[in-house]
Amino acid sequence: MRIKASWIAMLTLVSQCAAQEPTQTDIAQQIRQQPSSGRAEALGGKWLEESRTAAAAAAVVWRTGDAAERRKARLVLNEMEEAALPPLLKTEGDLDPDEQIWRLTMVVETLGELRKSAAVMLDHQLSNKQPAPLPSIPGAEGKPPARRVCDEAYVLMSRLATAGPLSEAVLSKMRQFQRLPESERDAKIQRARQTTAWRSLLR
């Protein structure tokens, strides 16, 4: 009965969330009304928590429900894409092997889909040659690189491809690229776009 109650509570919660969904006007007004940067950041944190409520409740049912409820909860979470990741990543304790494997697969495949989406976004911006100059500061140590949107997209493309922490080697490569003349940066970007690894990430 307790599990049934949690399932019903989750459905109620989700329906309440849907019923109270703010309009674009509400959102814009709340953002405008924030009196400080700290309050704006806190609003972002509050909305983040709210956006995670339904998936967290669904994950409770997936872990604790009876077989039929768990199956339905899995179907729910399975459709929630990246919104399902936080509770799945935080799930602790023993899981049925099939559910454990589903969880691992769901997380990794969803991250893969996000990674592909990020790659597509970056690939579009690799053609964007709009200048994005950094401010000139008296006394600054070194002239800022004459960067363009595509240059930053290239640097981020490298970070996405390597997916590791910022190491001395990675940073050194980034700086070498930023110091190149524009034509050489363009050539590097074009070569990187044609690599098998990048093309396969976009597929």
Binding site: S36, S37, G38, R39, E41, A42, L134, P135, I137, P138, G139, A140, E141, G142, P144, P165, L166, E168, L171, S172, R175, Q176
Partner: protein, 352 residues
């Protein structure tokens, strides 16, 4: 709220910064001293974009869990930690803080291309928006100014920097032989093959007047064509600046008896992960151990938004119980938080 946390907003009596009397906060609450040493440029009233106090006023959400006692004292009941802030622009005070156990020392200012934190009264003439020419950009004019050295032995810098800052430089002469690759800052290693000895006149018409111990006929290692770079003597031990150098307070052969006793050292100058991290962590072997010797660096030119305000904010606003336990979790969280803030302000560098 953490399971370990006491009730939020406890009605504790508090003493002001510096008071030694026992208060209701003791011994449940830990006091963490944040010491901020500002360099010759980018300090409050000079050209810092926002002081930590201004940043906190705009970003810190005060509540029963997070109290502001004064501009320089905050109590986070979720962490169980009372934070105090003290600031200086003095090199000697910076050195004293490096040697003070249990504190978190933050340096905000120029990295001097890796030479080390650099102190002085002012770097910029605000009225003219131009650099002030002074010896404080290098050796300093008294014990509280100039560079505290923590760099590679040799650092290549465009010669115009010497002229614009107006200090006396100590570049490497041809007669000293070529610099070894391992002794060079990573930023100049790609140019070692193109090093050429040149006379000061061949490098820059005003350079001769800015050289230490120059003798007619001396040639200096240089590279580059448009903006010629010269190779400065820099280093971290046995330098011209002794005792203003890391080697005076830390011996890599005896790291257990280091005098660099601060618990955390955060260097927010430009590109310090490249310039100083390898020297301090790998060569001098001031390494992390247990709850001691944490260090943080920047990945690139640390243009505005300056990180000192966001970093202090991140340290204070961590929301898990953290008193009298490892500082690691709160520092890990602070790194994520400060980088999120830098990203929001269009900053291109990160703290790592």
């Amino acid at each position: 709220m953490s399971d370990h946390s006491p009730a939020s907003g406890v009605g504790a009596s508090r003493a002001p910064v510096g008071a030694s009397s026992f208060t209701a906060l003791s011994p449940l609450y830990e006091t963490r001293e944040l010491k901020i040493a500002y360099g010759i440029q980018f300090h409050p009233g000079e050209s810092l974009d926002a002081t930590p106090q201004q940043y906190l006023n705009d970003h810190l959400n005060l509540s029963n869990d997070l109290e502001k006692v004064s501009d320089n004292e905050y109590i986070n009941h979720l962490q169980g930690v009372r934070f105090t802030i003290e600031e200086t622009t003095s090199k000697q005070q910076f050195i004293n803080w490096l040697m003070t156990p249990d504190i978190h020392l933050i340096y905000m200012g120029h990295a001097r291309y890796g030479r080390g934190p650099c102190f002085g009264a002012r770097g910029i003439d605000k009225a003219k928006n131009t650099l002030i020419q002074t010896e404080d950009w290098e050796e300093g004019s008294d014990p509280i100014s100039g560079i505290f050295r923590m760099g590679y032995p040799y650092i290549g810098i465009e010669v115009s920097e010497v002229i614009e800052h107006g200090y006396t430089a100590n570049p490497m002469k041809e007669s000293e032989g070529r610099p070894a690759r391992a002794d060079c800052d990573p930023s100049m290693r790609g140019y070692l093959g193109s090093l050429r000895p040149r006379t000061p006149e061949q490098i820059h018409p005003e350079l001769a007047a800015h050289l230490r111990n120059h003798t007619t006929g001396d040639k200096y290692w240089s590279y580059g064509s448009g903006g010629i770079h010269i190779v400065h003597h820099a280093g971290w031990r046995n330098t011209l600046s002794n005792p203003s150098e890391l080697g005076t307070i830390h011996d890599p052969d005896d790291p257990d008896n280091t005098q660099m006793k601060c618990r955390v050292f955060t260097h927010l100058g430009c590109t310090t992960f490249t310039h100083n991290y390898p020297v301090v962590r790998k060569i001098a072997k001031w390494t992390h151990s247990g709850n001691e010797r944490y260090a943080y660096w920047t990945t690139d030119l640390s243009y505005p938004p300056h990180a000192v305000g966001p970093w202090v904010h991140a340290l204070i606003s961590y929301n898990q119980w953290n008193a009298f336990v490892s500082w690691g979790p709160s520092l890990d969280w602070a790194v994520q938080r400060v980088n999120r803030s830098i990203r929001a302000g269009h900053g291109t560098y990160r703290v790592i």
